[in-house]
């Protein structure tokens, strides 16, 4: 091979950004078209450094905006290359038009989204506003809770996205700063093992296969547009989850690290639980364990796969619990909150009508403390004891000023 391998220690102390950049190096991406934005910049910087140092055989395309970055990725993927990039926040928002192009054209692109708040007011810190903005875009969305996950899920993303039965782009989300700039121990794979897991890229209908000319990015009016969209939705609903599960299973055999479509912690006998995403899942796990010493049977459900939404897996995970709090880290701006709505939908036709309440927290990087979570679990226990939701259905955690509660 025309590139050097890198010797890694079994455990490296990496932040989430560098973990993602290392995974991109090990996957030997052909093209990265990127535009820098805090806090995701170090991912593409890292890849560019690896490329310049001869650890990757590929192309780094510097572009004038995130719209152009994703457009470049789309062109390169259509041409038949393994393609990835990274962005956050305003950059992600600027990409939105092209995100729909990428998924509609069935191009397997991996996008590392380092979650950050959306302006105004301008804020560089972590919340899930950009992640939520992407959820109808036709991409697969995986969520990392720590740097280890950010590393591992990149391999899963390529494996699933590039599968010829899937051919849909995939986002790997990690919390801005809380994961992206937090260094922790990351168990590594050696270069050959990592590359062996994702395998050589096998293009399908690539534009540069001149023996089999194809057209990409066509126009279809009311005669065919609906059929294309329906087929894309069908594949997301029926084909993606089994492939993700297979990739998780294969990855567990390889690394010993087990991922699940829905992560359950202490849920076997839980009376109360929180459903959340990102770093909050881990903090909540620690608090749930501590609550058990105080006699509250607490559990945590973490969403690992946001799209396609794990409707049945969620219902299964929550089938015996008595009170549920959904934690949305994005302003619903006039609605109950994405997780509240999705969890309600998952449970509505099941026998378990647990007490469901929604919480909005952590906007613009506002800290979610263990003390917040202790109060939350206690509030859920009060609901269980009373047999009803004793608060309003939507509350805010950690915001200054008079208590906000709605619905």
């Amino acid at each position: 091979m025309a590139f050097d391998k890198m010797e890694l220690r079994d455990i490296e102390v990496w932040d989430g950004n560098f973990a993602a950049a290392q995974a991109m190096r090990q996957c030997q991406i052909d093209v990265v078209a990127a535009y820098p934005i805090t806090p995701s910049t170090p991912i593409v910087e890292g890849y560019a450094q690896f490329l310049a140092d001869g650890y990757v055989e590929g192309e780094f395309v510097m572009v004038e905006s995130e719209h152009a970055a994703m457009s470049g990725c789309i062109g390169a993927a259509a041409a038949g290359g393994r393609v990835a990039t990274a962005t956050s926040s305003q950059g992600f928002a600027l990409m939105v038009e092209t995100l729909y192009q990428a998924s509609g054209m069935r191009l397997p692109i991996v996008l590392n989204v380092v979650n950050r708040a959306l302006a105004a007011p301008l804020n560089v810190n972590g919340d899930h506003s950009d992640m939520y903005l992407g959820r109808d875009s036709g991409w697969i969305q995986l969520d990392a809770y720590c740097p280890q996950d950010a590393y591992d899920l990149n391999f899963i993303a390529f494996k699933v996205s590039e599968d010829h039965e899937v051919r849909l782009p995939c986002m790997v989300h990690q919390d801005g700063f809380m994961t992206s700039h937090t260094a922790q121990g990351v168990h590594t794979l050696d270069d050959d093992t990592a590359y062996g897991f994702v395998g050589d890229y096998k293009p399908m209908n690539d534009m540069l296969d001149f023996e089999h000319p194809v057209t990409h990015g066509v126009q279809t009016e009311e005669d065919w547009h609906f059929e294309h969209k329906a087929r894309q939705h069908n594949d997301l609903m029926t084909k993606v989850m089994p492939k993700i599960q297979a990739a998780f299973d294969g990855f567990e055999k390889l690394s010993g690290r087990k991922y699940n479509i829905v992560e359950k912690y202490d849920m076997d006998d839980a009376d109360v639980c929180v459903v959340c995403m990102g770093t909050s899942v881990e903090t909540a796990r620690e608090v749930a364990t501590e609550m058990r010493k105080e006699g509250i049977k607490a559990g945590v459900v973490g969403i690992r796969v946001i799209r396609p939404f794990p409707f049945f897996q969620i219902a299964e995970a929550l089938k015996d619990v008595k009170a549920i709090a959904t934690l949305d880290r994005s302003s619903p701006n006039g609605a109950p909150g994405m997780l509240f709505n999705e969890i309600a939908g998952s449970l509505y036709n099941t026998p378990n009508r647990a007490l469901l309440s929604g919480y909005v927290y952590g906007l613009g990087g506002r800290d979610l403390t263990k003390a917040h979570l202790v109060s939350l679990f206690k509030e859920l226990q009060v609901n269980v004891d009373a047999g009803k939701v004793t608060t309003q259905l939507q509350q805010f955690i950690g915001v200054r000023g008079p208590k906000l509660a709605y619905l």
Binding site: V124, T182, S280, T283, E286, D367, A371
Partner: protein, 185 residues
């Protein structure tokens, strides 16, 4: 769980210092976390960085911390920031200053009654590395006060972490670490 809060100015190397410390500790089998509050930090702006160390996997991602150690690597921050915020009764302070510990306690009464150690990391860095980057000397002082590792083991580990720098700079950092180790009071 061991928790450390760094008070620094953006550009003084607190993040690199926190990550370097985490890296060294990780090689001894412990679990580590190193992070910082940036905001849209400009060079020279006051900022904080953090370390967590534990025998178990660290799952706590809250930014709130009641530190066991506070490192202050810029001499003015002890007067312009509240370096004692969220302290515990037994929080230890290692503070960069040209003052003696007694002079510092007089100048900043908030530190009265607390376990305070002083070392002039800025001067040490200037005289060894040739730039006022006080992060590695602070770690030398920390090794002395905490007794966490043998200083020779720590220096060897730091040589690996600084590996990409020119040998001259690495050597200067080793002198800086040793001097702070010897001079902290």
């Amino acid at each position: 769980m061991l928790e450390i809060r760094w008070h620094s100015r953006a550009g003084q190397g607190a993040v690199t210092g926190a990550k370097g410390l985490a890296d060294v500790i990780s090689t001894t089998g412990k679990h580590v976390q190193a992070f910082a509050f940036y905001g849209s930090a400009k060079r020279g702006a006051a900022m904080t960085a953090y370390n967590r160390v534990d025998d178990k996997v660290i799952m706590n991602h809250e930014k709130y911390m009641r530190p066991d150690y506070v490192f202050v690597i810029d001499p003015a921050l002890v007067f312009t920031s509240d370096v004692t915020i969220n302290h515990k009764d037994n929080t230890k302070y290692i503070i960069t200053t040209h003052l003696t510990t007694e002079e510092l306690l007089k100048a900043q009464p908030k530190l009265e009654g607390k376990e305070v150690y002083t070392v002039d990391c800025i001067t040490i860095a200037n005289e060894t590395i040739g730039r006022p980057i006080p992060n590695t000397p602070m770690l030398g002082a920390f090794m002395k006060i905490s007794g966490m590792y043998d200083i020779e083991f720590f220096k060897e580990s730091m040589q690996r972490i600084l590996g990409k720098l020119p040998q001259k700079i690495i050597d200067a950092n080793m002198f800086a670490i040793q001097r702070a180790y010897d001079e902290v009071k």
